[in-house]
């Protein structure tokens, strides 16, 4: 491959965003941040890379395989930000340790991981999310879910589902039936991939009582509204811990008060493989996209690892996936047509003054970079896709519509 050609390539898993799409993405991020802000979340920004040790405990499995790691000048290992929750936990435990609780923080930016799993083929992903730290109530869980529903609606989606589960339900069910932790991990792995064929094979191969096997295999069917909680209760043997189901019931009631339960489906077989979740977990899906649009959950034990003991809950939107869906469905705002402004010899001053005034009033104005004739100006304007031409010449301004080829109406202004 020749030298120039080599320079024109981007590495696997990253991409350029071209005009229009890049702008739409920024608009979408602004829309999301604006909603976060109206719910009282304050934006924080954290470095693109940090010491590897910040991620050691919670992302051990990922560290080897999926994270970008490299040494700094003294040989300490750095990690390109793979997640926002851990950096925000660090911020909450240091700079904001004395702030009133609960703490509402939000963020937006890139995370980096080697491709695979839940993200598709991209290695740089844009996330926007929130963390609510210092509250352990069903109301705080529901606030996060309702906020996710608002973001997806505001983006223009109506046919999305937020599926809601609780990590404790499956854990308790497996423990109550005496499933070993090793077998339990395998079972949860198949639940997280929703590979119900392998799940069935595994469960049938384990030395389980028939009612235990039946209970585990019935969990994938526990999807729907509040009635699912009653069915779930029947699967648990007497004496099993019902707390997860009661929590979900409470959350469900608050979601009804928020008026968003129509977007929420209980899914008691939902497992998110990040191991720091301790309570409710949820993911948002829409038709035609094989990856979650958003996801999150409660992580009450995580902040202890940073030296502050606070319950917390949060979620993140996958901005790229959301953008893909909106783009495919043509739900992104059309770009505003621009004005092309040109001038003949001697009219530059008037033209530039007019351009500045129009820009101040909110118009999108592209100004010619040289003197031109009226015909040249019209040609240049059309090439740019501008809808109107303002041509300044001899103390006058002629306005021409450029939308139809050739026959624009001419109007002489003052």
């Amino acid at each position: 491959m020749n030298e120039i050609l080599k320079r024109l390539l981007t590495p696997e898993g990253v991409r350029d965003l071209l005009p229009d799409l890049a702008g739409r993405k920024r608009k979408l991020e602004e829309l999301i941040q604006d909603i976060f802000s109206r719910w009282g979340y304050r934006e924080v920004s954290t470095p693109a890379f940090e010491y590897s040790v910040n991620f050691d405990t919670e992302m051990k499995a990922d560290l080897e395989e999926n994270l970008y790691r490299f040494p700094d000048e003294r040989g300490r290992t750095l990690v390109l930000r793979p997640d926002f929750t851990l950096p925000l936990a660090r911020v909450a435990a240091t700079h904001l340790a004395r702030e009133a609780k609960p703490l509402r923080l939000c963020y937006g930016g890139s995370i980096f991981r080697y491709a695979g799993g839940l993200q598709g083929k991209q290695r740089e992903l844009t996330q926007a999310g929130v963390e609510l730290m210092g509250a352990g109530t069903a109301e705080s869980d529901a606030e996060i879910i309702a906020l996710a529903a608002e973001v997806l609606q505001a983006a223009g989606l109506l046919d999305f589902t937020l599926c809601l589960g609780h990590v404790g339900f499956l854990d308790n069910l497996l423990a109550a039936y005496g499933v070993t932790p090793e077998a339990g991990e395998k079972i949860k792995h198949f639940f997280s991939k929703k590979d119900f064929v392998s799940l069935r094979e595994l469960v049938q191969s384990l030395p389980l009582a028939s009612e235990a096997a039946e209970a585990v295999l019935a969990v994938p069917g526990l999807r729907g509204g509040a009635e699912v909680l009653e069915e779930a209760r029947k699967l648990l043997p007497p004496g099993a811990d019902m707390t997860p189901l009661l929590t979900l019931q409470d959350i469900w009631a608050v979601l009804a008060d928020y008026g968003v339960s129509r977007f929420v489906t209980l899914d008691l077989g939902m497992v998110r493989m990040l191991n720091y979740y301790t309570g409710m977990v949820f993911e948002g899906y829409t038709v035609g996209l094989g990856y979650p649009l958003c996801g999150g959950g409660r992580y009450d034990q995580l902040l202890v690892n940073f030296g502050i003991n606070l319950p917390a809950v949060g979620f993140a939107v996958s901005v790229d996936h959301l953008l893909t869906v909106l783009e495919r469905r043509k739900l992104l705002p059309e770009k505003k047509p621009s004005l092309y402004l040109a001038y003949s010899a001697g009219s530059r001053a008037a033209a530039l003054a007019a351009a500045q005034a129009l820009r101040k009033s909110g118009e999108k104005v592209v100004v010619s970079v040289q003197e031109s004739t009226g015909e040249e100006a019209a040609r240049q304007g059309r090439a740019l896709g501008a809808l109107r031409l303002l041509y300044y010449h001899g103390g006058k301004c002629t306005e021409t519509a450029l939308d139809s080829e050739g026959g624009g109406k001419d109007a002489t202004l003052k």
Binding site: K194, F196, V197, T265, D267, Y285, T286, V287, Y291
Partner: protein
């Protein structure tokens, strides 16, 4: 572009598993007679069931489902293992049971390293990588049995059902990599947003399978 959300689109793999798959859907009460009659058409709709069947090449089925062009797919586990997409695997339809196996010429000493011919390069790669052997994968698109006979490869990795084709070509099965049947897979988005319809359909098929077993 997309049908409304109460419609389901199912992609069926053409080829050896199509007929038994249609029989299964028929036994579950879906009228599949037109698909059998009009063999050149690729899309069939069942208005009253709000169901649409599309027929595609087996290796393309996971792609249709991944992008949500189809909500569900009916395809062999061999294809799923090879393409490694994030699809939900809802049901083992128990159609076309066979094995994905390593085979070599009768009388040779098994595989200690060398060339492997297969239609499944990724599965093969993963399988032998785990064994610490030196090997090179040769991708073929059909009649893989030829490769050892022409000394193109030392062994092959291919589907084996009765073993007849192997025997006719003087090959023997040495290792089973995976047991293969046809699966019902779902797009994760469809599985969540059209949850009720997907579950109903899976239950109707499961009921037929359990009747067969019972």
């Amino acid at each position: 572009m997309l049908l409304s959300n109460d419609w389901l689109t199912i992609a069926l793999a053409k080829g050896r598993i199509l007929e038994p798959a249609l029989e299964l859907f028929a036994a579950a009460g879906f009228d599949t007679s037109r698909i059998r009659e009009e063999s050149r058409k690729l899309i069939f709709t069942l208005e009253e069931e709000k169901l649409r069947f599309v027929l595609a090449k087996p290796t393309d089925i996971p792609t249709y489902v991944e992008y949500g062009a189809a909500d569900l797919g009916v395809v062999g586990k061999d294809v799923l293992l090879e393409v490694e997409k994030e699809l939900y695997e809802l049901l083992d339809l128990q159609i076309g049971p066979c094995r994905l196996s390593v085979a070599c010429r009768a009388g040779s000493k098994g595989f200690a390293g060398g060339y492997v011919a297969t239609k499944y390069p990724r599965i093969t790669e993963r399988y032998f990588q785990g064994q610490g052997k030196q090997f090179e994968v040769i991708k073929l698109h059909g009649s893989v049995e030829l490769a050892p006979l022409l000394q193109l490869a030392d062994v092959i990795v291919d589907l084996v059902s009765t073993g007849k084709t192997l025997a006719e070509n003087n090959l023997v099965e040495t290792e089973v990599i995976a047991h293969i049947t046809t699966r019902l897979v779902a797009n994760p988005g469809s599985y969540q947003v059209k949850g009720k319809r997907v579950m109903e359909l899976a239950e109707r098929l499961r009921a037929v399978l359990e009747r067969k077993e019972g």
